[in-house]
């Protein structure tokens, strides 16, 4: 497969002069005098990004992150090297910055789409989706000057992510907007990622990069100094931050570090909870005393299913083998939504019956059946086998996933329990007075 993006020997040079008059003198001297310095914002960047991967770009301020994104999206021309991009690329640098305040949201959304290079017909077709996603109600037909900055970024983001890019380039775009919109935006980004969109992503939020990206690179002073899994690169990034700390006054170092940490994790409160048992940081390793063989999802007819209607009864069938004899153990199932928020956890300890002692080599199957009144979306189930004192004996590698289908409701409900409504006219209630 051809890579989505391929950078070969990319460099970007700027010429820096302290004042205009010095620059003029340099021009007038026809190269005899030099008052300017060359500054390489990027140098020797070789990078191939596979289709469908999500790449986090880390680095301190001025490391060249934005320059790199601008070169990839074609806004800036590299001084050296070549860029190849395959597919429709949508870049978001600062949301809603191209909006004209005198025109309505609708007009600006159309303009924004046309500016991004999307065909007018396509925009007209997608308008409903964009409007629903931005969710700013009647403001759609009011001039943008009446918008709050959050509303502007909602609209800008709605346009950019609803035109189905092959490659999405995001530069710190999620910092505006309230928590609920951030969640929605993130959900959409997960959707895009899972549908095969290549995402390039600059963020100072380490947690966000860790959770969202499949790969990461670290830039420092225009050079790419690390590439790998988010875990590895984040480690490098921390050591870069620490190195810059150690140069400073030792007395302030600790406080600075705390500040750095706080800044790097600033927006995490609004983000979905990090996965608890499965998180890449602080992950509990199973002892290997038991092995989860498989996790199956069955619908109400006990048929294997990966799509179930909301509100139906879902059965999670967990099969595990004991590698060693144990005195006591329990099977557990944990349900999470797309943003890794824990929805529901159950185990044979909490319910009945306890599993008791098991011999080596024994295979046990447990069915957990429960109602699934969840909103439409993708969910994952993870199964665990734990021993006494909460020791983790075994766990699924990858969670089993399924989709809940139902009519989407605009309220953004987390669950959609079966609801019965009855209407009584006042008279029928009888002598309530």
């Amino acid at each position: 497969m051809t890579p989505a993006i391929s950078l070969k020997g990319i460099g970007k040079k700027y010429r820096i002069t302290s004042s205009k008059s010095l620059r003029l003198r340099e021009i007038l001297s026809f190269g005899k005098k030099q008052h300017s310095q060359d500054f390489w914002a990027l140098q020797d960047i070789d990078l191939e990004i596979e289709q469908g991967s999500t790449l986090g770009i880390l680095g301190r301020n001025g490391a060249g992150k934005s320059t790199m994104l601008q070169i990839i999206s074609g806004v800036l021309q590299p001084t050296t090297g070549t860029v190849e991009v395959n597919g429709r690329l949508i870049a978001i640098f600062g949301l809603g910055s191209g909006f004209n305040p005198e025109f309505t949201g609708r007009e600006n959304a159309m303009m924004n789409g046309l500016i991004l290079g999307i065909d007018r017909h396509e925009m007209l077709e997608r308008f409903e989706k964009i409007e629903a996603f931005a969710d700013i109600g009647d403001f759609m037909d009011h001039p943008v000057k009446t918008y709050s900055s959050g509303m502007k970024s909602r609209l800008g983001f709605a346009v950019a992510v609803n035109v189905e890019p092959n490659i999405l380039v995001i530069d710190e775009a999620l910092s505006a907007g309230d928590a609920s919109f951030k969640k929605k935006a993130l959900q959409r980004m997960y959707d895009l990622r899972d549908s095969g969109t290549t995402v390039l992503f600059v963020s100072h939020s380490m947690g966000m990069v860790n959770r969202f990206c499949t790969e990461a690179v670290l830039l420092n002073r225009g050079h790419m100094i690390a590439r790998g899994t988010p875990d590895e690169v984040l480690g490098e990034y921390r050591s870069v931050l620490e190195k810059s700390q150690s140069k400073k006054d030792a007395k302030n170092a600790e406080r600075d570090q705390q500040l750095d940490y706080a800044i790097a994790h600033e927006d995490e409160d609004d983000m979905p909870d990090p996965p608890k048992g499965k998180g890449k940081r602080g992950q509990r390793r199973p002892t290997g005393e038991a092995e989860v063989l498989d996790v199956k999802l069955l619908d109400e007819d006990q048929q294997p299913a990966d799509r179930v209607p909301s509100g139906s009864t879902l059965t999670v069938r967990v099969r595990a083998r004991y590698a060693q004899a144990v005195d006591g153990s329990a099977f557990g199932a944990v349900l999470r939504d797309r943003s890794e928020t824990l929805l529901f956890a159950t185990s044979t300890d909490m319910e009945e019956p306890p599993l008791g002692a098991r011999a080596e080599g024994e295979v046990v199957t447990v069915d957990f059946a429960f109602g699934a009144p969840f909103r439409p979306g993708h969910y994952g189930v993870e199964a665990t086998v734990s021993g006494d004192a909460g020791r983790l004996l075994g766990r699924t590698g990858e969670p089993a996933t399924f989709e809940v289908v139902a009519e989407e409701r605009p309220a953004g409900d987390v669950i959609q329990p079966p609801t019965r409504v009855e209407v009584y006219d006042h008279e029928e209630l009888g002598p309530a007075t």
């Binding site: 700027y14 601008q70 070169i71 999206s73 074609g74 806004v75 800036l76 021309q77 590299p78 090297g81 070549t82 860029v83 190849e84 991009v85 395959n86 597919g87 429709r88 690329l89 870049a91 640098f93 600062g94 910055s97 191209g98 004209n100 005198e102 025109f103 007009e107 159309m110 303009m111 046309l114 500016i115 991004l116 290079g117 065909d119 007018r120 092959n166």
Partner: protein
């Protein structure tokens, strides 16, 4: 799936025609931009776009009234036409001049004032000067409409030569576009050009027969008119609108050749240098 190689060095010729093709490919964007530019000034007002006609109407009315009935410059030496009104004469000269001066001023800032688009999105920058030039032409078409109303109001005949106006307007457009593209490049790389252009525009107002009739010009100074493309436009406007005569064939040919050459040079310059705009803002 589209592939592009951003540092690919395209030949100037193909880049030139590629950029010309942009106007067709991104016609909706162009349309929205022009619409936005034309209506922006009138957005806040209650009467809206009506001001595009009302504004010039009020202006040309006062010009006609003041110069003919107050100051008393009623006519110039044209036989058998006592109704000739200096105000209308002046306005006929002002229309092409204003298009010219606006093209210069807006052209200079067309890239700079849209730095958000140039630096943040992959944007066909050739759209920007084009939009400015067309929007200011459209604005003048409303002014032209106001002029026609005034002609009727002052009891003047509408000459059949008016039908040739679109031809002149197209030629003027090519001239203005060429000028705008050159100014866009200059204004982006050399901000000082803006300061230089201000006295140039003021000077052009006086060396072009707008306030004065060209037949007053002594022979020794006739080159002022002969080598001034703006003078051709002013004269052509007056010939077609007020006098009902055709502009000279030879001068029309010269003007056409000059405008086309100006456009090709200006647009080629723009296409060659546009990849560097984002670095210079």
């Amino acid at each position: 799936m589209a592939t592009y190689t951003s540092s690919e060095k395209q030949g100037l010729g193909s880049a030139f025609f590629d950029a010309l093709g942009t106007f067709y490919r991104r016609r909706w964007l162009l349309g929205y931009f022009i619409h936005r530019q034309v209506t922006r000034a009138y957005r806040r007002s209650y009467l809206g776009l009506a001001w595009a006609v009302l504004g010039p109407l009020v202006w040309v009315f006062f010009l006609a009234l003041i110069f003919s009935h107050v100051i008393g410059i009623k006519d110039r030496a044209v036989e058998g036409d006592p109704t000739l009104n200096f105000g209308l004469y002046l306005y006929c000269g002002l229309l092409p001049f204003l298009t010219f001066s606006e093209a210069l001023n807006k052209g200079l800032n067309s890239i700079r004032s849209n730095s958000g688009l140039v630096q943040k999105v992959v944007f066909p920058t050739e759209i920007l000067p084009f939009t400015n030039a067309i929007a200011s032409m459209v604005d003048k078409v409303f002014g032209f409409g106001a002029l026609l109303v005034m002609l009727l109001l002052f009891g003047r005949t509408l000459h059949p030569t008016l039908l040739y106006m679109p031809v002149i307007v197209v030629l003027q457009m090519i001239f203005i576009l060429g000028l705008t593209y050159i100014m866009a490049v200059l204004g982006t790389f050399l901000p000082d050009v803006g300061e230089v252009m201000r006295p140039v525009i003021r000077g052009m107002f006086f060396v072009t027969p707008i306030l004065w009739p060209p037949d007053r010009l002594p022979d020794s100074l006739s080159w002022i008119e002969d080598y001034n493309p703006l003078a051709y436009l002013v004269n052509a406007y007056r010939d077609l609108i007020l006098d009902g005569t055709m502009p000279g064939a030879l001068s029309t040919l010269y003007f056409t050749l000059f405008s086309v050459a100006l456009f090709i040079v200006g647009f080629a310059l723009f296409v060659r240098l546009k990849p560097r705009f984002a670095d210079h803002l």
